[in-house]
């Protein structure tokens, strides 16, 4: 479903820094209906991969195919009907002055779909939001509710692929569980393909079938989730991430610059 070959993304650096290579030579294959996770720290480039895939970032080189179709940096409008994205910040990803209805109806209106009211009702139901919330503004919703609206917006065009950028990192643990369960259920019900990116190893392990570990723009290691759970990692960075997911553990002392 998603194929990346030698994807590289650079930003023009400031002053004497030169170009910043945010993503270097990343390749992956995700089958239709699969859930694939990329785990890495901030600055590892994982969000940049998503932005390049979604069409938000156009400064990439390499081969990108979605459903077998090679993609160019500039996407046609119809592309957005098949690939959608859910953002990290539930407070920032909804327009503060638009009601829920307007936020959800807009993509449908842009693509000239019919029966918009019916679609909005249906998608609200599928993300578990009561119809009474339809004309609320984002500031009248909780973080979890806003994230549900963000998911609903991604789903209203009936995409096949969902790109998830740290979808629960800004949420409390209890709300996170609800959203993760919702995402799991939606994937089964709508046969979606997920590419989920997070710094939280436990979340990625829970949601995904296969996982790639990313550091400094490169894929360090890739493995099925069972292997990760068993702790069979080859790379020391992965081992460190696994250990850190357990909590605090004092190690030997060493100074750092």
């Amino acid at each position: 479903m998603i194929e990346l070959d030698a994807l590289s993304v650079s930003f023009r650096g400031g002053r004497a820094a030169g170009d910043v290579h945010a993503v270097r030579d990343v390749s992956l294959r995700i089958a239709a209906g699969e859930s694939y996770g990329i785990v890495g720290e901030s600055g590892s480039g994982k969000s940049t991969v998503l932005r390049a895939l979604s069409g938000l970032n156009r400064n990439w080189r390499g081969v990108m195919k979605i459903d077998g179709v090679p993609q160019l940096p500039v996407r046609p409008r119809a592309f957005h009907k098949s690939v959608q994205m859910v953002f990290q910040d539930p407070y920032g990803s909804l327009h503060p002055r638009h009601t829920v209805h307007r936020i959800l109806a807009e993509p449908a209106a842009i693509h000239k779909l019919d029966g918009i009211d019916r679609r909005v009702e249906r998608v609200l139901q599928s993300v578990g939001l009561p119809a009474a919330f339809r004309y609320r503004f984002p500031h009248q919703l909780s973080g979890g509710q806003r994230q549900r609206v963000a998911i609903a917006r991604a789903l209203i065009l009936e995409p096949r692929v969902l790109l998830l950028d740290e979808p629960t990192s800004a949420l409390d643990v209890s709300v996170q569980a609800e959203i993760l369960n919702l995402l799991t259920a939606l994937r089964a019900e709508l046969n979606l393909t997920y590419l989920l990116v997070s710094h939280n190893l436990a979340v990625v392990a829970h949601m995904c079938d296969r996982i790639a570990v990313m550091q400094s723009g490169k894929f360090i290691e890739e493995m099925p989730v069972a292997q990760l759970r068993a702790g069979h990692s080859v790379e020391p960075y992965t081992t460190e991430l696994l250990r850190a997911a357990q909590g605090y553990a004092p190690t030997t002392m060493e100074a750092v610059t």
């Binding site: 953002f87 002055r97 500031h139």
Partner: protein
Amino acid sequence: MSAQLQRGSTLHGWLTTAEPASQWQASLGDSYVRALFLLRNPLAMCGLVIVLGLLAVAAFAPAIATQDPNAQDLASRLLAPSAAHWFGTDEFGRDMFSRVVYGSRVTLLTITCVVTIIGPFGLVVGVVAGYLGGWADTLLMRMTDIFLALPRLILALALVAALKPGIQNAIIAIILTSWSPYARVARAEAITLRGSEFIDAARLSGASAARIIFSHILPLCVPSVIVRGTLDMAGVILIAAGLGFLGMGAQPPAPEWGTMIAQGRVFILEQWWVATMPGLAICVVSLGFNLLGDGLRDVLDPKNR
């Protein structure tokens, strides 16, 4: 008033419900809540009262003014304020109170013309420049810079030298020299907003640049332009008065506050009311707009939600 605002009242309840049933109800309710917020600010209320007062005085000038503002009575020239002439009379025996009252119309006309043009125009220029960036930004901002560099009074003098002195040309001069800051303010906001995730989301929905600019970004930039506008009102009034003072604005015998101050300054020491009354009117109206503008900023600032 407070009785109508009790929770039990249907209208208040309808507007503040947590579950609006339509877009219309949601938008009205939101504006209502903000208006309530404004009402709680005593200084802003003062400002609002003054501004509404200006509107009322201008609208009902014939009813409020006690006499014809242009009726000269040389026998009653330069009389001090009294029961017959509340603000005294000027050097032609015209009733000062009536002149100040009718002067409000000229002031209101000036403000309205200026604001309805510079606000929207500056907003659109700024938002388009800020969102699109690149050559559009450079082009629009250099144009803005050119107008920003023009000094108001000098331009007004130049215009009236070319055309004839009058309130219309004064208004044109003010418009040409006042719109630039609005473009700058709107541009700064647009630049901040264009990196927002909800704009990214709109792009991912397939929204065109025009839709993003006018549906998403522009509405969010309106509050700062409104606030800037109300605070600018005082400046516009003073510029118009200044132009009038220099003889470039409304021409005598038209009652315009600045012109009246100019004519009255000769008598300032002994017949202080001729210059002071219109001066006070300018002060009060400017203060009113400032207070209202401050209050609006508190209400419209999204950080206060």
